[in-house]
Amino acid sequence: MLHIKPIVVALKRHKAGTVLIALQIALTLAIVCNALFIIQQRIGRLSRPTGMVESNLLAIQNRWVGVDDNATGPLIKSDLQALRQLAGVEDAISTNSFPLRGGGWSMGVRHDPDAKKPVSSAAIYAVDDHALSTMGAKLIAGRNFRSDEIVWVEQKAYAASPQIIITKALSDKLYPNGSALGKTVYITDTARPSTVIGIVEHLQVPWSGTWSDSFSDCVVLVPTQLTGNFGSYLIRSKPGQLAAITATAPRLLIKNNRLRTFSRDRGVRTFETVRAQAYKSDRGIALLMGVVCAMLLAITAAGIVGLTSFWVGQRRRQIGVRRALGATRHDILGYFLTENLLIGIAGVVIGALLAIGINLWMVTQFEMARLSMTYVAAGVVALLLLGQGAVLAPALRASRVSPVEATRSV
């Protein structure tokens, strides 16, 4: 810190190199901050829980071929019976959708059927009394459906169920100061009321996109089995049996009835695959940003090493003179580290402003969140350290320049 003024004076005589390094640090900081922020946001999405016990879970999406929508009821019943008896199966349900499936129903939940705007949107899972055990969802209040409450109905003929189970998140939205248990709510805009008979701790909606973030854990379970040519089976295997039933369950279903199809890439999936597919682009973007960050930091470090090495080479004689005039090795090392620190500080100041500017622009363009200052601070520290690390090798080389260098003629 002793020599800041003469360093600044000397830098003024090397404007181009100084500006280039500062600019590179600034741009790198701006991009790395935003990239890290994107990574954190995406990773944050990836790690959201579904509320289910995700191990030992198999999902099969089934489409009937050439069966009237009203006539699939007995086929589904027969499938369920066979699946529940299959060796290695703990339990199984038929449902219209499940967490992270990608497609499903959402409805507006209201206190009052005449209310114009619903309190919240919520995903509907039409299931039976085996749902909680199959999904591994935790009931924290009330009771499960009884088997006599389950009704079979064609999809387009579904009317709001008299009994429903909802998630705690939805309950909290509906009744912030109490529990929704036992209360009456409206899940459609008809005057048909539903009574909340149970509350589960957590269940996620079928969608993973940002548009559903406002109600991502608002789910209503209805005691209904929908008939129609399209539906899903969720199957919980006994521990260690997942691989076995992934092979046997589809075969069993085809044996049961040949006129069905499973879609190519989303037909038969372990829940691990479901999760991977749902968050593919989130994970991909996080990965891409990570790679770009790493490459950027490497390139910037290499650039600093390159330019500083050049400077050291250019100033060998001057370093020799300084040594002859009494500079210790430490003084020379300190000179180059301080010089880099000064350039780095200029760079990060510009870079921090740029990072915030870019983020503000992205907020308007891509519905992104505002950049947290923690990231800017972390980026600033990281880049200053990177600069010091990168300059270390050339600076050490400079400190080893012999004072004899001063006497050599050019």
Partner: protein, 239 residues
Amino acid sequence: MLKMTHLSKVYRTEVVETYALRDFNIDVKEGEFVAVTGPSGSGKTTFLTIAGLLETFSGGEYHLDGIEVSNLNDNARSKIRNEKIGFIFQAFNLIPDLNVFDNIEVPLRYRGMKAAERKQRIMDSLERVGLASRAKHYPAELSGGQQQRVAIARALAGSPRLLLADEPTGNLDTQMARSVLELLEDIHREGATIVMVTHDPELAARAQRNVHIIDGQVVDLSEDPRFHTVHAEHTGTTA
């Protein structure tokens, strides 16, 4: 002040060992003005770099101002250079990025001197060499003679016990060389010890004492017949 006994300096490469100095003995007393002369490659520059602690030596002893320097580490050597020695180089060696004032300040900064004292000393030494008005100029804006006078001011600013000059007029024309030499003589009269390396006999003649080096050893000029031939070779070649 500066005493070398049986000093040797060997440059080793994979194939050969070259003695730059061999059984080298010299004793410079405080307040002396000594000129070290000798032909190219005789070892006079090596002598100067070792005397100035710019390089280490291979054997023998070197006492500088009473201190045996062979066992000192790099930091201690830097400190001695900084406090006891002032350098004047043939190529001036001003730092081109710094102006005159900042150049003279360099050794004072390394000494950790307070800003006020630094300023006082810089102005005094600039005054001494007659360039006080050029403090804000950059080296490239000065003539060769002016640059060398700035270099002398830089050497003087730290009040060194010993001034080492390496062909101080080698890059200057006759007129400027004369004025620089007069400056050195002034400094000497004020009590400084000066060791000057040169191959210019005219310059050497201005010193109190001449030490002649040939093949890495000090030779007695009056007894060595080679001196005369060497001298003849070098008269008139000042390049």
